[in-house]
């Protein structure tokens, strides 16, 4: 399962962070604006191909893993009960496409380069940091959760077995995770403050990502695609 940055040299890794974000935003627009169900389905397939091209098959598997429960419930609600299987296919493909796009951005955009790019555009560091920290929060919490699982298992908690047993195990895992995260807030805030995060100076971008004409053209094309599809759908 991948929900964070993975080092690599694919074109997506080389892309300017804003280009990757533009791709994700365009996918969201297209997922809803393209004719259903073939549009969202084609979009999901295209993103799957992009994930494979970027040599990130695990991103694709993660997106499918997250999508699976949605597909199941959509199948039950629309396929079995509502007898509208095409609706299930549309919503399922929309969810899968958007999840794949966001996970691809998470896996290929280096948070520090995103901050550098935002700083270059004059965005305040506090805002840029908030965005970057949010992108990294999931992998950090997953690591902490894994540590808590190990610790609780050492103390006799059984986290495998029946659904009932797994459900009961959630409380002793979730409470230390939430309380631990809250308990760290003060210390993290102190460390950041002491390291100048609230300094009045404009933070230096350490490695500002290069932004070529080609990158700008791609972003304009993505924006044009999103607007174009909306206009086409409204007129049609």
């Amino acid at each position: 399962m991948i929900v964070g940055y993975v080092a690599g040299k694919s074109p997506l890794h080389q892309a300017h962070p804003f280009t990757a974000l533009a791709l994700a935003a365009t996918v969201v627009v297209l997922a809803f604006a393209l004719p259903a169900p073939q549009g969202p389905a084609a979009l999901a397939v295209a993103l799957a191909a992009l994930a494979l091209l970027a040599r990130l098959p695990r991103v694709l598997l993660t997106a499918l893993g997250f999508s699976l429960p949605f597909w199941f419930f959509l199948g039950v609600i629309h396929g079995l009960i509502g007898e509208t299987p095409l609706r299930a296919l549309t919503v399922g493909a929309q969810i899968t496409a958007m999840l794949t796009a966001f996970l691809l951005v998470l896996a290929t955009v280096h948070p520090a380069r995103l901050v550098d790019a935002l700083l270059q555009r004059g965005v305040p560091f506090s805002l840029a940091y908030l965005l970057s920290a949010t992108l990294q929060a999931v992998p950090r919490l997953r690591r902490q959760a894994a540590d808590i699982v190990e610790a609780q298992r050492c103390r006799g908690l059984r986290v495998r077995g029946s659904v009932w047993r797994r459900t009961r195990a959630v409380v002793p895992l979730a409470i230390p995770l939430v309380l631990g995260a809250l308990g760290e807030v003060d210390e993290r805030a102190m460390a950041l403050d002491a390291r100048g995060a609230a300094a009045p100076a404009h933070r230096t971008a350490l490695e500002p990502p290069p932004d070529s004409t080609a990158q700008r053209v791609v972003r304009w094309l993505l924006a044009a695609a999103a607007v174009g599809v909306i206009v086409w759908r409204v007129l049609a």
Partner: protein, 272 residues
């Protein structure tokens, strides 16, 4: 004088007792001052008050006068003026990670970059700090994959890379192995040549050798202030466990107060 406290008391929110009570002390550049005491004595709070993080981050109320590099660190203007000039190292390294670095080099550069320095100056300060703490070979490693000891040295390098005039260290060697801890303490007098260093530690066997001066706190009150030998060699300090192992042995075998603090001290005393 770079830090001055006059009659300073501090109370955490929800507490009915002072974490610091009427503390008055002056710290000078060029010396390592050790502050120690039993659990809850207020050593960490003293550091936070000097840095302005108490009450700014912790909440609570402060009274008395605190002057850090001619500023009151509790005011908005004071905090802005002191950004980067007061370095603080906390005991747990993983909560001090910036959360946006994938290499040690970037982590060390986090503070200097926040100060808006030019990239060339940042690179020089980062290289020097990493060399000083023996972490240059880890420069390309992901900080999240380091051991606690390695990470604490990285965090120390990150604080020092900001070239602070006042350095506040809260149990800086808690995560280090004995050799690593010894290395950090031996570095302190060198670091203090250019700045004021306040070290909160209960690792007194090592800290005593590194410090020029000692403060002893007891339940928030300053009960002793003097040379390390005067404060830690005192009967009261040794009786409450706020001294070195050698001093405790010396007291146990019936020596008179003014106990030796190290084996070298003891040898000198017996061969006099």
């Amino acid at each position: 004088m770079s830090v001055r406290l006059a009659g300073v008391s501090f109370r955490y929110p929800g507490s009915d007792t002072d974490a610091l009570h009427e503390v008055s002390v002056t710290l000078r550049p060029g010396e390592v001052t050790l502050v120690t005491g039993r659990l809850g004595a207020g050593c960490s709070t003293l550091l936070l008050v000097i840095a302005g993080l108490a009450p700014h981050i912790t909440g609570g109320s402060r009274s008395g006068e605190v002057t850090t590099l001619d500023r009151d660190p509790a005011t908005r203007d004071g905090r802005k003026a002191l950004a980067g000039r007061v370095g603080l190292l906390l005991p747990t390294p993983w909560t001090q990670l910036s959360g946006m670095s994938f290499t040690v080099e970037e982590e060390v550069a986090f503070g200097p970059a926040n100060l808006g320095w030019r990239r060339a100056r940042i690179a020089g300060a980062v290289d020097e700090a990493m060399q000083r703490f023996g972490v240059a070979h880890l420069a390309r490693r992901d900080p999240r994959t380091l051991s606690g000891g390695e990470l604490q040295r990285v965090m120390f390098a990150g604080v020092l890379a900001m070239e602070p005039e006042v350095l506040l260290l809260d149990e800086p060697a808690l995560e280090l192995d004995p050799a690593g801890a010894q290395g950090v303490y031996e570095l302190l007098p060198v670091v203090a040549q250019e700045r004021t260093v306040l070290l909160a530690s209960t690792d007194l066997d090592r800290a005593a050798a590194a410090a020029h001066r000692a403060l002893l706190l007891d339940r928030g009150s300053l009960v002793a202030d003097g040379t390390v030998a005067e404060v830690l060699g005192n009967d009261g300090a040794v009786a409450t466990g706020c001294s070195t192992t050698v001093a405790e042995i010396a007291r146990a075998v019936g020596l008179t107060p003014g106990y030796p603090l190290s084996v070298a001290d003891a040898v000198r005393r017996f061969t006099r």
